[in-house]
Amino acid sequence: MKAAVILFPGSNREGDVASALKHVTGVTPSIVWHADTDLPAGTDLVVLPGGFSYGDYLRCGAIAARAAIMDAVRAHAARGGLVLGICNGFQILCESGLLPGVLVRNARLRFVCREALLKVERTDTPFTRRYAKGAIVRYPVAHGEGNYTADTETLKRLEGEGRVAFRYVMADGKRDDTQVLNGAANSIAGIVSEKLNVLGLMPHPENHVDPLLGPTDGRALFESIAGVLERA
């Protein structure tokens, strides 16, 4: 597997995801500068990392979505290549049109860093196949603008096509849209593209891979990716 992590000015979790990839899959990703126009040859997985690209100024992800490298990322996705956008990466995917909808200020207007419970809604994506169906996992969140919103039609389409990959749930494993930590519509934490090769999610699987630091529920996500690419 060849992985590339895109570095925008203001990205700050590129090291976290790179070390998680290495820790779980043994693969050291290359770091690709936003102003570049090409991905390294043979790239299988593109990661848009967390952070505050361009300070989150204007709208989170808006300026990064228009960076030079994004044309290459779009082309990679169109070819069916895997793209993983975490947190700010998810915001960039939405702003760039690779995923529908938008992430706005948390309903309580505060940044929130805590462990969140998530239901893995489908296990037939390249990112989730190592999870048990309906598994409840624990990933941390760390964001001020993770409140997923889309127009009613888009939401209906996403639900109809089963494109919600992760949903916030309460301690009892059930979703409660009125209590969700950031106000996200339908408790959406992550969605996939039509062809299932692009995943955007707000929580941080990369911060839950090392038993020394806490739970390790994020490992299976990276194992899933590596597994898919090995077989390919």
């Binding site: 203001g10 300070g55 505060r110 020394l212």
Partner: protein, 737 residues
């Protein structure tokens, strides 16, 4: 020197915070009347904030050396050797006054400033902490300040990308008009690649890096040293807006040009901006500096030399670049989208010369600007000692369980989760112990080593007895590091006091410093950096003396750190250290009986060391399952915190006859820890305690879901936890946002 600048008048001198005798000193020093720009430069260099004129004399008494200290006070941050060729770089700094005026930006730029201090030394920041003191929760401004300060700290650190892993928060009416925001940052560097402010080499380019200069914060440093009065609101425009995005770019660019070997000397522009940084670089290297302000990147039009020299625009640096490296350095900065301009040169004449539009705006002796700053031996009086409180003399109507419930639900003891959940405490993937424990622990590189970090001080103690209070702050930081299994290495301090021109306040400062010095010496815990914030007074009333201590220790193996949560039922609970029932200045007395009285608990430094070393040895030998130091709130609060963190209850034994139960459970005797021990290890622990000469007593056992105090109604742990978690969110929720 120029006709366009204002004339120097006694009023203008006073407005610059310079006393008549200080102005006289300037006249003597330069042999003529200063220009307006020069007056500004002197006022910046000689104010309390930059010159430490009231505290310098007494700071000299602090122990600052140890074999592992690479750099003590005097640079942007302290540096200690943590083994394996690595160094920890850290410092704490206050942004109290700006945070009161504009809490979000004030606190945020405070974080920005301390991060810059750390990466200026060549270290990548790996953790941030903050010590916050607010006024009475009932004071109309308190909620607004809490919301703004917390959002500001988070807003800056989260965007910059450093985990904020710990700190402290307290409330007291004495901070009503003067909240405290003390921010600490810790970085990691190779021990042989530390960068300093000292310039070397004549004729080398002095380079300006980072964001452009605007009119922000002009006179900010002077403001930070001026007592607040009714007119505080008028000083508003001196607040700066922070740009964490620019700071993140500045970090990456600085580390990159350091790595490329371009940097001879580097100094961040903090308080008093360009003035302080340029003078310091030259003076430390015995060189002169000549600046050409026509080249300074400015954000606003028509800025005068005076404004440029005093601007406190954030996210800026000054460097001396190695010969022939200008182009390489510039390319790196342009890549990161930052300004880069050669604004001057080093000279060999020891003058600080500032040119603007073909005129010389300042020409001053560079060494004297710093060295000849006034130094005051201000008169001080010792704080009168108070009597030890006799528990028998107290009229207590509360019950033990009732008092405990009230204490853990009170502002100072309530969980601070609402705050630290607004801080990204996980970024960088190294947070081994998250907020909520005795010390935060962050992994160093790939491990197995880690750093243990904590902030501590008990202002009530310091007010009652500055010497014992100063000792206690250091001892508690040392203890908190020990409690997670760390070896305490060094500390940074942030001395927050009122007006030093009052002998009683000066007495607090002197007393606390002596206490800090004594404890730092006895515990081999030297002071490597620090900051002083004076004049924290409103309408003549000062804050409680608050010398915040930031402690750093090393954990050899992060797999072996201890945490405070109970691990299982059926384990024995021991207290290590002597319990005499010391209630003077205790939280129980203050919160339950509404009395802040008596002598605070004395700190026996030898005992601290003995007990702490013993606890650390137990952790290293894997003989204890949970560890918590006993600090304010006493034994019962410590046990309750261990229970709440785990959901596991405890059944306690009755104290020996003769001791007042309130004093026993809530007394704040020092040098104590609570530990739990699995049944198989009990005998071993007791044997080792005896061999070490350490006092140890079994006080109960873990198990169930309740806290059982003999003869009292049981308390359900979940209910206690709800109470503990409830206060802050409810308090803040009742507010605006």
């Amino acid at each position: 020197m120029t006709s366009t600048e204002p004339k120097i008048t006694p009023e203008l001198i006073a407005e610059h915070g310079l006393k008549p005798d200080e102005y006289q000193r300037i006249l003597t020093l330069i042999g003529r009347e200063p220009s307006f720009t020069e007056l500004g430069i002197f006022s910046a260099m000689w104010n309390e904030h930059c010159s430490y004129k009231s505290s310098r004399l007494h700071l000299r008494g602090l122990p600052t050396k140890a074999p592992w200290v690479i750099q003590g006070p005097g640079e942007n941050a302290g540096v200690i050797d943590i083994g394996d060729g690595q160094a920890a770089v850290f410092k704490m700094e206050s942004h109290n006054h700006p945070s009161y005026i504009e809490p979000y930006q004030g606190a945020g730029t405070g974080v920005g400033g301390i991060l810059r201090d750390v990466f200026t030394m060549g270290a990548r920041p790996i953790a941030a902490l903050n010590a916050l003191r607010f006024g009475d929760p009932k004071h109309p401004r308190t909620r607004h300040l809490v919301a703004g300060v917390v959002a500001g700290i988070g807003g800056y650190g989260n965007s910059f990308g450093v985990p904020t892993v710990g700190g402290l928060v307290g409330f007291h009416t004495r901070y009503d008009g003067n909240n405290l925001v003390n921010a600490m940052a810790v970085g990691l560097a190779d021990a042989d690649k530390i960068f300093y402010a000292k310039a070397t080499g004549v004729g080398l380019p002095v380079v300006y890096l980072g964001s452009k200069t605007g009119r922000d914060g002009i006179h900010g440093a002077t403001m930070a040293s001026a007592e607040f009065g009714e007119g505080a609101e008028e000083k508003r425009p001196t607040v700066q807006v922070g740009d964490p995005f620019a700071e993140k770019l500045l970090l990456e660019a600085c580390l990159e040009i350091m790595e490329a070997g371009c940097v001879v000397a580097i100094q961040d522009m903090g308080a008093a901006g360009l003035t302080c940084s340029a003078v310091e670089m030259g003076a430390k290297g015995d060189l002169g500096i000549e600046l050409d302000l026509d080249r300074l990147p400015c954000r606003e039009e028509g800025m005068s030399a005076y404004e440029m020299m005093l601007s406190e625009s954030q996210e800026r640096m000054l460097m001396v670049i190695a010969p022939g490296k200008e182009e390489q350095a510039e390319a790196i900065f342009l890549k990161w989208g930052l300004d880069f301009a050669i604004v001057g040169y080093t000279t060999d004449n020891l003058r600080f010369v500032v040119k603007h539009k073909g005129e010389i705006k300042a020409d001053l002796p560079i060494k004297e600007l710093g060295d000849e700053a006034p130094l005051y031996d201000r008169p001080w009086v010792e704080t009168p000692k108070q009597q030890r409180i006799d528990p028998a003399s107290l009229e207590i109507t509360a019950t033990l369980p009732g008092a405990l419930e009230r204490l853990i639900g009170s502002p100072d003891f309530a969980s601070k989760r609402w705050i630290w959940e607004q801080y990204d405490h996980l970024i960088l993937n190294n947070t081994v112990q998250r907020p909520g424990g005795d010390s935060a622990v962050v992994r160093v590189g790939e491990g197995p080593k880690g750093l243990a970090l904590t902030c501590d001080v008990t202002p009530r103690y310091c007010e009652a007895d500055p010497f014992e209070g100063g000792k206690q702050a250091v001892a508690e930081a040392w203890r908190n590091i020990t409690a997670v299994g760390g070896k305490p290495l060094a500390l940074t301090d942030n001395l927050n006091f009122g007006n030093p021109e009052k002998p009683e306040i000066m007495g607090q400062l002197v007393g606390c410093l002596r206490g800090i010095g004594a404890a730092a010496l006895a515990l081999d815990f030297p002071v490597v950096s620090g900051n002083v914030s004076l004049y924290n007074e409103t309408n003549g009333r000062g804050i409680l003396p608050t010398p915040t201590i930031g402690g750093v220790g090393v954990v050899d193996d992060i797999e072996k750190t201890a945490t405070l949560a109970f691990k299982a039922g059926g384990e024995a609970i021991f207290v290590i250290g002597e319990t005499t029932g010391w209630l003077g200045q205790s939280a129980f007395l203050a919160e339950i009986l509404n009395r802040e009285e008596g002598a605070p608990p004395p700190v026996d430094l030898e005992l601290e060391r003995k007990n702490g070393d013993f606890v650390r040895s137990l952790i290293e030998a894997d003989l204890v399952t949970a560890v918590h130091d006993v600090s304010d709130g006493g034994l019962l609060v410590a046990i309750t915190e261990m229970a709440m963190a785990s959901g596991i209850g405890a059944s306690l034994l009755a104290p020996e006859d003769g001791i007042n139960p309130f004093a026993y459970w809530f007394g704040e005797d020092q040098a104590r820890y609570v530990v739990t021990v699995a049944s198989g290890e009990k005998a071993q622990v007791l044997r080792q305690a005896e061999a070490a000469g350490v006092t140890i007593a079994k006080i109960g056992g873990t198990g169930g879901d309740r806290l059982n105090i003999p003869g009292e109604r049981p308390l359900v742990i979940d209910t206690l936890r709800e109470r503990n978690e409830a206060w802050l969110p409810i308090y803040m929720g009742a507010g605006l946002m």
